[in-house]
C-alpha cells in the first residue's frame, strides 16, 4: 500500500507532464486528475448499507455546510494540428468555480466565477466574470436580504440588495442549502456501485468511443483524424450519524466528471483502401473536468460588514 501511495503522485506527474497541456496558456497551472478513479471499489455494496443509502441520501443535502464545484476545460484545436490549422482554429481555456457556504448566523454565500480565454491564430480573447450572492436572514426569520455582486464579461460591476419575505418552511432549501445530490445521482446512475476500502459508497463508470473512419474529427483545413473520447465519473458517499436522531445516513462526499479527447491517428488517407496510420502515443486534443467537494463542519459566523454595498445609480 505504501508503495502504491508513492507511485501515484509520480505517475500522475509524469502522465500529466507529458501531455504538455499547460501550453498554450502560459499561466495555466491546472493538472487534471484524468481517467483514473481516486478510490477503488473493493467490496460489493451490502444490502444493509444500500437501504441506509436509499433512504437517506436524497435528504442529505441538509447536512452539507459547504460545497465547491470547479470545472476546467481545455481545447487545443490549434496547438495539436499546427500543419492543419486555419484562421478559424483556436485553443481554448475555460475555468469555472462555484461555491456555497452556510454560516451559523443565518447567512449563506454563493460565489460563481468564470474565466474563459480563446486564442486564435494571432488573436487572444479573454473574458472573466463573477457573481457573488449573500443571503442574510433577519432575526425574526421572516425577511431575507439578498445582495448580488456581479461583474459581467464586459467588466462592469453591479451590486444590488433586495429584501424579500421569507418562509422557513418553503424557502430554506433555496437560500441555505446546496441541492446537488439529486444531480449527482442522476449522472452517476448506471455505473458500478460498491464500497471503497474506507467504507465509502462509490459509484463509478468509464466509457470510450471512437470516431469511425467515415465520420472523423475534422481539423481546420478539412483533413480528418481519428479521435477517441474517454469519459469517467466517480461519486463517493460517506456515512455519518445524525447528532440529534443518532440515525446513520449517507451524504455526498465528492464527485468528479472527466472527459478527454485524444487524437489517435495521422491524417486519414485520401484513398479508401489505404490503411489509417495510428499513433503509438495518442495526443491530447482537449479535456473537461468537474470536481465537487463537500463539507459538513461548521463555518462559524459570517462577518456581515464585509458584504459589498449596493452600487449607487
Amino acid at each position: 500500500m505504501n508503495r502504491k501511495m508513492l507511485l501515484l503522485p509520480l505517475l500522475s506527474f509524469f502522465v500529466v507532464g507529458c501531455n504538455g497541456q499547460n501550453a498554450p496558456f502560459t499561466d495555466d497551472q491546472y493538472k487534471p486528475k484524468g481517467m483514473a478513479p481516486t478510490h477503488k471499489i473493493v467490496e460489493v455494496l451490502p444490502s444493509e448499507e444500500e437501504d441506509i443509502f436509499d433512504s437517506t441520501v436524497e435528504e442529505s443535502d441538509a447536512y452539507l455546510t459547504a460545497a465547491t464545484i470547479t470545472s476546467e476545460s481545455r481545447f487545443y484545436g490549434k496547438k495539436v494540428f499546427p500543419s492543419h490549422s486555419s484562421v478559424e482554429s483556436f485553443d481554448e481555456r475555460n475555468s469555472q468555480s462555484n461555491t456555497f457556504t452556510r454560516y451559523e448566523n443565518r447567512v449563506s454565500v454563493f460565489k460563481n466565477k468564470e474565466f474563459a480565454s480563446r486564442v486564435y491564430e494571432g488573436t487572444l480573447i479573454k473574458k472573466e466574470s463573477k457573481e457573488d450572492t449573500y443571503n442574510v436572514l433577519n432575526e425574526s426569520e421572516d425577511e431575507i436580504a439578498i445582495t448580488t455582486d456581479v461583474t459581467s464579461f464586459d467588466g462592469e460591476n453591479h451590486i444590488e440588495t433586495n429584501t424579500i419575505s421569507y418562509d422557513p418552511l418553503f424557502d430554506y432549501e433555496t437560500y441555505f442549502q446546496t441541492n446537488i445530490t439529486d444531480f449527482v445521482l442522476l449522472v452517476a446512475s448506471g455505473g458500478m456501485i460498491g464500497l471503497t476500502k474506507d467504507k465509502m459508497i462509490a459509484m463509478q463508470d468509464m466509457e470510450t468511443s471512437t470516431t469511425p473512419p467515415d465520420a472523423p474529427y475534422i481539423a481546420g483545413d478539412g483533413v480528418g483524424f481519428i479521435v477517441e473520447t474517454n469519459s469517467m465519473f466517480e461519486a463517493y458517499f460517506a456515512k455519518r450519524v445524525d447528532n440529534e436522531t443518532e440515525e446513520e445516513y449517507y451524504h455526498l462526499a465528492s464527485f468528479r466528471l472527466y472527459t478527454e479527447y485524444l487524437v489517435l491517428s495521422e491524417e486519414i488517407p485520401n484513398m479508401a483502401n489505404e490503411s489509417i496510420v495510428y499513433l503509438t502515443k495518442p495526443v491530447l486534443l482537449g479535456y473537461e473536468e468537474t470536481i465537487l467537494t463537500t463539507k459538513l463542519t461548521s463555518n462559524g459566523n459570517f462577518v456581515t460588514s464585509t458584504i459589498p454595498q449596493p452600487t449607487e445609480i
Binding site: V87, L124, I125, D221, P269
Partner: protein
C-alpha cells in the same frame, strides 16, 4: 511508369516544401510584409452603454469623416510554386499589385481621389511592370450640377483628362453620395458580418470575422493539391470627440481585410496517396487596409483642376 511520373513531380514538390512566403519574393525591392491573420486581442465584451454609443455613432460618423486612405497589396506566386503545374484557369505567372488611394473632401464641395497602382508580372518569359496614377475630382461647376473629371497617367504617357460623369445636384440629398466616404455603411456592414465584437485593452472596439475554406484544386498535368483559403476581416473603432458636440461616438479608425491561399499538401495525381506538408505554404495573399480621417482639409483650389483634353 509510375516511378517516372513520380520523378517528374519530386523536383516540384521539393521546391514547394522549401519555400515559405515570409522570406520569399520573386519581385525586386518587395519589402511588404502583410499583417496577415494577426488581429487585435479582444479582452472583454462591450457594455450596454458602449453598444449604445456605437449605434449612435453609425448615425453621425458620416458628417465628420473628411477623408479615407486605402492600400491594397496582392501577391501571387503561382509560377514560382507550381511552374508548369499551374492551377487550371490560372496563369503560369507570379504577380504583384500595390495599390494606394487617398480621398479627401474639401470645404468648398470638392472631393479629390488620388490613386496609384503598380502591377508586375513575372515568369520565365515575361517580366513586365506597369504603373498608373489616377486623379478624380468631383466638384460643382454650378450650384445645381456636379461634374466628375478624371486624369489618368499610364507609365510615362501624358495625362488623359476626361469628364466621366455629370448631372443635377441637390445638396440636401446628394452631398453624401458625391462628397461622402460611406464610413457608416462600411462600418455597419462589417460589424454585422463580425463573428467577434469586443473591446481591446486600449478601449478600441474591435470586430473580427475569420473564415476558412478547404478545397482540392486541379493543376495542369492531371495533378491536384490540397489548399486552404483563409480570410480575416478586422474593423477597429475608436472613441471620437467632435469639436461641435459634447457627445463622443465610435469612429472606424481602421478596416483591414486579409486573404490568403495556402497549399497544404504536396502535388499528387489520381490514385496517389496525399502527403501533407509540415509547414503549409502561402501561394497568394491580398491585404487591404483602410483608414478614415476627420481632418479639416480647408478649401480646394478649383483652378488647379486640369482641363479636359480627351473625349
Amino acid at each position: 511508369m509510375k516511378k517516372a511520373k513520380l520523378l517528374l513531380l519530386i523536383p516540384i514538390t521539393s521546391f514547394l516544401a522549401g519555400c515559405v512566403t515570409t522570406d520569399y519574393s520573386p519581385f525586386e525591392e518587395d519589402d511588404y510584409i502583410p499583417i496577415g491573420y494577426q488581429t487585435e486581442s479582444i479582452t472583454r465584451e462591450l457594455t450596454s452603454d458602449e453598444e449604445g454609443v456605437l449605434i449612435d455613432g453609425l448615425l453621425r460618423m458620416d458628417d465628420y469623416v473628411t477623408g479615407v486612405k486605402s492600400a491594397i497589396e496582392e501577391r501571387y506566386y503561382l509560377h514560382s510554386y507550381f511552374g508548369k503545374n499551374t492551377p487550371i484557369d490560372y496563369e503560369d505567372v507570379d504577380a504583384s499589385l500595390s495599390y494606394s488611394s487617398e480621398a479627401k473632401t474639401y470645404n468648398n464641395d470638392v472631393k479629390v481621389v488620388h490613386e496609384n497602382e503598380k502591377e508586375s508580372f513575372l515568369n520565365d518569359y515575361v517580366s513586365v511592370d506597369t504603373q498608373e496614377e489616377v486623379y478624380a475630382w468631383t466638384f460643382l461647376p454650378t450650384p445645381a450640377t456636379y461634374e466628375m473629371r478624371r486624369s489618368v497617367v499610364r507609365d510615362s504617357e501624358d495625362a488623359i483628362v476626361t469628364t466621366i460623369d455629370t448631372g443635377a445636384y441637390v445638396a440636401a440629398t446628394d452631398y453624401q453620395t458625391r462628397f461622402g466616404h460611406n464610413a457608416a455603411m462600411t462600418a455597419d456592414s462589417l460589424l454585422a458580418d463580425s463573428d467577434l465584437i469586443g473591446m481591446n485593452d486600449d478601449e478600441t472596439i474591435v470586430g473580427i470575422r475569420r473564415v476558412s475554406t478547404s478545397s482540392i484544386i486541379e493543376l495542369e498535368r492531371n495533378s491536384y493539391v490540397y489548399t486552404l483559403t483563409n480570410t480575416v476581416m478586422e474593423i477597429k473603432l475608436s472613441l471620437y470627440e467632435p469639436e461641435d458636440d459634447s457627445d463622443p461616438f465610435y469612429l472606424p479608425s481602421q478596416v483591414r481585410e486579409y486573404g490568403e491561399m495556402k497549399v497544404m499538401s504536396e502535388v499528387f495525381v489520381i490514385n496517389e496517396l496525399v502527403k501533407y506538408l509540415d509547414t503549409p505554404i502561402t501561394i497568394c495573399y491580398q491585404e487591404g487596409i483602410v483608414e478614415y480621417s476627420t481632418t479639416d482639409n480647408g478649401d480646394y483650389d478649383t483652378g488647379s483642376i486640369p482641363e479636359v483634353n480627351a473625349i
